[in-house]
């Protein structure tokens, strides 16, 4: 099956999801899950033949004239992503159906449709080989996640979080787009695989640094890396199924996906790896501190997600083939346990109606399956054997030791892992197994739809740990190989013997246990440190946001003050400034024939009269007198045309001038003849200055124009072809009705529009009378 067909099915299916869900009612989640499930199957089959770093490529033309394609490409890495997206998507759909069971049907239906659309957009992102296509799908995920985060649009906090995530991720997307355009400019192609193979060309480009910064901006905003880490925890305003999807498997990992892809393209730029290690490590540290200072169930999970993303970014920055294996392994392990934990959190919050970890206790009896799943996921999150996460973590430490990238990365990884251990206890032991549930605290029990997802994922995490071969050959091997661009032997096992990695694991677990036991005291300390919150939270974003709004308000109040004279003055002033600056910068030769050679009396007199009339028009208090003065200028210009070989223009101008007087007279008949002056003396001075400046700039522009050579090609064309081809001797008329007839058609259409508008405008007033 072609890859484009998979995308078509996905998008068409999500377009049909809402009406379908409305009909299906309570079963909607289960039925709609068929779409992601079958996409999962299709992707599994499509990629089953992939070996090593091989790939399936499908060329899709889009805008051939600009060299823009929508080429699709499936290799081991995008297949792993696609499978995570559709697999977790299936479970999220089922879970969401159950989660919205007691809400109005249209809400559930809209939510399911959005989730599926979101899945399609992510699928498009990871399947695109064309960077343009990737960008389009990338921004689509930002847009849909905006809708998902703000889904409870009646909550101001949800709207704010949605806007924040959109501004950060879509803004980063724009940076990415700029980077993509530069890549296309430098490499002559928008193909991602081409960029990955041409790292030397990219490194040699003078734009290399700019491209790197832009791509990093795009990825860091999407994956919530420092300093853009603040939006993701706020995005927890989304309904829990969306949080599970957005933050576990998928959207936030698109940034990681992008970085992993570009790791090869920037292989010869050492700064790339360094930047990833520094920012990834910082993110791990910041998120660890913040995770320990929160009490909200989802907030803690969100902070730990940010920390995991930091780990992934750091891993990509590390050198060596083990790092690639560790990246894909940790990605899969994290998706499995974090989605489970989000599901469990959602069920617990749904059941108790409470969101704080301090208030949720002992749900083991009320939610037995969920509790078991949470326990398994917690073991995985802590990185304990025999889960798959343990294997992934071993790789993680091995990658670090192998690359020898210094103590900073090591400290960040060990600390991060320790905090994972503590969080695992906090989010699963406490709410489910410790303490005692209050009487009547559980409003909703668990239903199959609610516990299927966590149960499946948690079991998978355990199963892959016991039988690592299941995941390696079909999934991780090709994925890691695709990242390094060559076949990579991957042979994970639970027991490696007594290695330094095991020692680091043990150290992390011990540290984590200590943190877990100290958590209540730690929380009491950290929660009251306002400066920490200000430093690490979204205060900077809020300041910037408020500042922009304040600036907009000030500009609007100054520019849009309701006085039309000020608008005109602003436009005139700005035009004046731009033209003047342009003239000064270009410094064109100013040539005006200063001698009075070629002076002809008649035109000179006409011109003098016109200027006098123009000045008179500006001075006249009486409107009819001003109209006469303006009319003199018009008739004067008609005379000028007549005296300079333009009888057509002269006739037209004469007719128009006569008609203009007729029409404006109709207006003046209804007005006082001498209206009071509308400008103060000061304003008149400003206006005189502006008008004088405008005249001066016009004169300078005309002088510059005179100096430039006259391009006569068109004139010569018309002069030579007018009679032989269009059989007309009046060249002006031939241009109008033949050579440029379409322009003329447009112009008479404009006249017709104006007449129609006047016809309608003045007709509406005829009260009681029949409009003619």
């Amino acid at each position: 099956m072609p890859l484009s067909a998979i995308l078509w099915i996905s998008f068409l299916g999500s377009a049909l999801a809402r009406p379908l869900a409305l009909r299906l009612g309570q079963r909607a989640g289960w039925v709609l899950a068929i779409l992601p499930a079958s996409l999962f199957g299709l992707l599994w089959i499509a990629g089953s033949g992939l070996e090593g770093a091989g790939a399936i490529v499908e060329e899709v033309a889009w805008v051939p004239s600009l060299g823009i394609t929508l080429d699709l490409r499936l290799d081991g890495f995008s297949r792993l992503f696609g499978l995570m997206i559709t697999g977790i998507g299936t479970l999220v759909t089922i879970y969401a159906g159950a989660y919205f069971a007691d809400k109005p049907a249209h809400k559930g239906a809209s939510f399911l449709a959005l989730i599926l659309l979101f899945m399609s957009a992510m699928l498009g992102t990871v399947l695109s080989d064309s960077l343009i296509g990737l960008y389009v799908f990338w921004e689509l995920t930002s847009l849909v996640s905006f809708l998902l985060i703000g889904f409870d649009s009646y909550k101001a906090s949800a709207r704010k979080a949605a806007l924040q995530s959109l501004i950060v991720t879509a803004g980063g997307g724009l940076a990415l787009f700029a980077g993509i355009l530069l890549i296309g400019m430098e490499l002559g192609s928008f193909s991602l695989s081409n960029a990955m193979q041409n790292s030397a060309a990219l490194a040699a480009s003078p734009w290399c640094g700019t491209i790197m910064v832009l791509v990093l901006l795009g990825a860091f905003t999407k994956s919530a890396q420092v300093p853009f880490h603040f939006w993701l925890p706020n995005a927890m305003e989304a309904p829990t199924p969306a949080s599970a999807y957005l933050h576990s498997a998928t959207m936030v990992k698109l940034g990681v996906y992008l970085l992993a892809r570009f790791d090869l393209a920037f292989a010869q730029v050492p700064a790339f790896g360094t930047a990833l290690i520094v920012f990834g490590g910082l993110t791990v540290l910041v998120a660890s501190v913040r995770a320990l200072s929160r009490t909200g169930y989802k907030a803690v999970l969100a902070q730990s997600t940010v920390s995991s993303l930091g780990v992934l970014v750091l891993l990509i920055g590390l050198e060596g083939p083990v790092a690639a294996t560790a990246t894909v392994g940790f990605m899969l392990a994290h998706a499995l346990y974090k989605a489970t934990l989000f599901f469990c959190a959602g069920t617990a919050i749904h059941a108790t109606g409470r969101t704080s970890l301090v208030e949720i206790n002992g749900l083991r009896r009320a939610l037995p399956v969920t509790a078991v799943a949470a326990a398994l996921a917690a073991v995985a999150m802590a990185g304990l054997p025999p889960t798959f996460s343990f294997i992934a973590k071993e790789y993680l430490f091995e990658a670090q030791l192998e690359s020898g990238s210094g103590w900073f990365a090591l400290v960040a990884l060990v600390l991060g892992s320790a905090v994972f251990v503590a969080i695992a206890g906090i989010v699963s032991l406490r709410p489910f197994f410790l303490g005692r549930s209050r009487e009547g605290a559980v409003h909703h029990g668990e239903t199959p739809g609610l516990f299927l997802g966590p149960a499946v994922l948690a079991t998978l995490g355990l199963l892959l740990g016991l039988l690592p071969g299941l995941a390696v050959a079909p999934l991780l091997g090709p994925a890691a190989s695709a990242l390094v661009g060559q076949a990579l032997p991957v042979s994970p096992a639970l027991w490696h013997g007594l290695t330094p990695m095991l020692g680091l694991s043990a150290l992390a677990v011990l540290l984590g246990l200590a943190l877990y036991l100290l958590w209540p005291r730690l929380l009491a300390r950290l929660a009251h440190l306002d400066w920490l919150d200000r430093l690490l939270g979204d205060a900077g974003y809020n300041h910037a946001f408020e500042g922009v709004l304040a600036l907009a308000r000030r500009c609007t109040l100054v520019l849009q003050n309701g006085d039309q004279r000020r608008y005109t003055a602003t436009v005139v002033g700005a035009t004046l400034l731009v033209t003047a600056v342009g003239l000064v910068l270009a410094a064109p030769p100013l040539a005006i024939d200063l001698s009075l050679e070629g002076l002809r009396l008649a035109p000179a007199v006409v011109v003098g009269l016109m200027v006098a009339a123009g000045f008179a028009a500006t001075r006249m208090r009486s409107l009819p007198a001003a109209l006469v003065a303006v009319g003199i200028v018009g008739f004067g210009s008609a005379l000028l045309f007549l005296l300079n070989g333009a009888p057509d223009l002269a006739m037209t101008q004469f007719s128009v001038e006569a008609l203009l007087v007729v029409i404006l007279a109709a207006l003046l008949l209804q007005l006082p003849i001498r209206p009071p002056s509308t400008r103060s003396a000061g304003e008149r001075r400003v206006d005189a200055l502006l008008a004088g400046g405008f005249g001066l700039v016009t004169f300078a522009a005309l002088a510059a124009m005179t100096a430039a050579p006259l391009d006569l090609r068109l004139t010569e064309f018309f002069a030579a072809r007018s009679y032989p081809e269009a059989f007309g001797r009046n060249v002006v008329n031939v241009i109008l009705v033949d050579f440029r007839a379409i322009d003329t058609l447009g112009e008479i259409a404009v006249v017709a529009f104006a007449a129609m508008a006047v016809w309608g405008l003045l007709a509406r007033r005829a009260k009681g009378k029949e409009p003619t």
Partner: protein, 136 residues
């Protein structure tokens, strides 16, 4: 403005301007003139009539609704471009027929369209501006 002299003179002037405008339209291809000038001049003739005898009289002289006149002009200009599509594959590439030194073709139809559109449009403007003024 109910001057008998103006009223009588205006009809003569109107007829003269209409004829002259048609002549200017026709000769426009080879001598100064054309659809724009012709249409404007004819409209000016109607304006004189409207000033002298009132809007209703001018309306009666036109017989056709000015907006219809304008529409007809636009349609004619548009249609005159269609033959060019047929045999030259280009809109408004005109057709010609020749009789000795006399040449005519769809370009003339286009110019007549311009004439009618300008005349109709400006007529509509003038009639609107001068009809049923409030007593003031």
């Amino acid at each position: 403005m109910n001057s008998l002299i103006l009223s009588a003179f205006s009809r003569f002037l109107f007829a003269l301007m209409l004829v002259v405008s048609l002549y200017i339209l026709y000769r426009g291809h080879n001598d100064p003139g054309g659809g724009f000038v012709g249409g404007l001049m004819a409209a000016a003739g109607f304006a004189i009539l409207a000033m002298a005898d009132g809007v209703q009289a001018a309306r009666r002289m036109v017989r056709v609704h000015p907006v219809a006149l304008m529409g007809a002009g636009l349609v004619l200009a548009l249609l005159s471009g269609l033959p060019g599509l047929v045999n030259r594959g280009s809109f408004l590439a005109h057709w010609w027929f020749h009789a000795g030194d006399f040449h005519s073709g769809t370009a003339l139809a286009f110019d007549i369209g311009v004439y009618l559109a300008v005349l109709g449009g400006i007529l509509a403007l003038i009639l609107r501006f001068y009809e049923e003024q409030p007593e003031a």
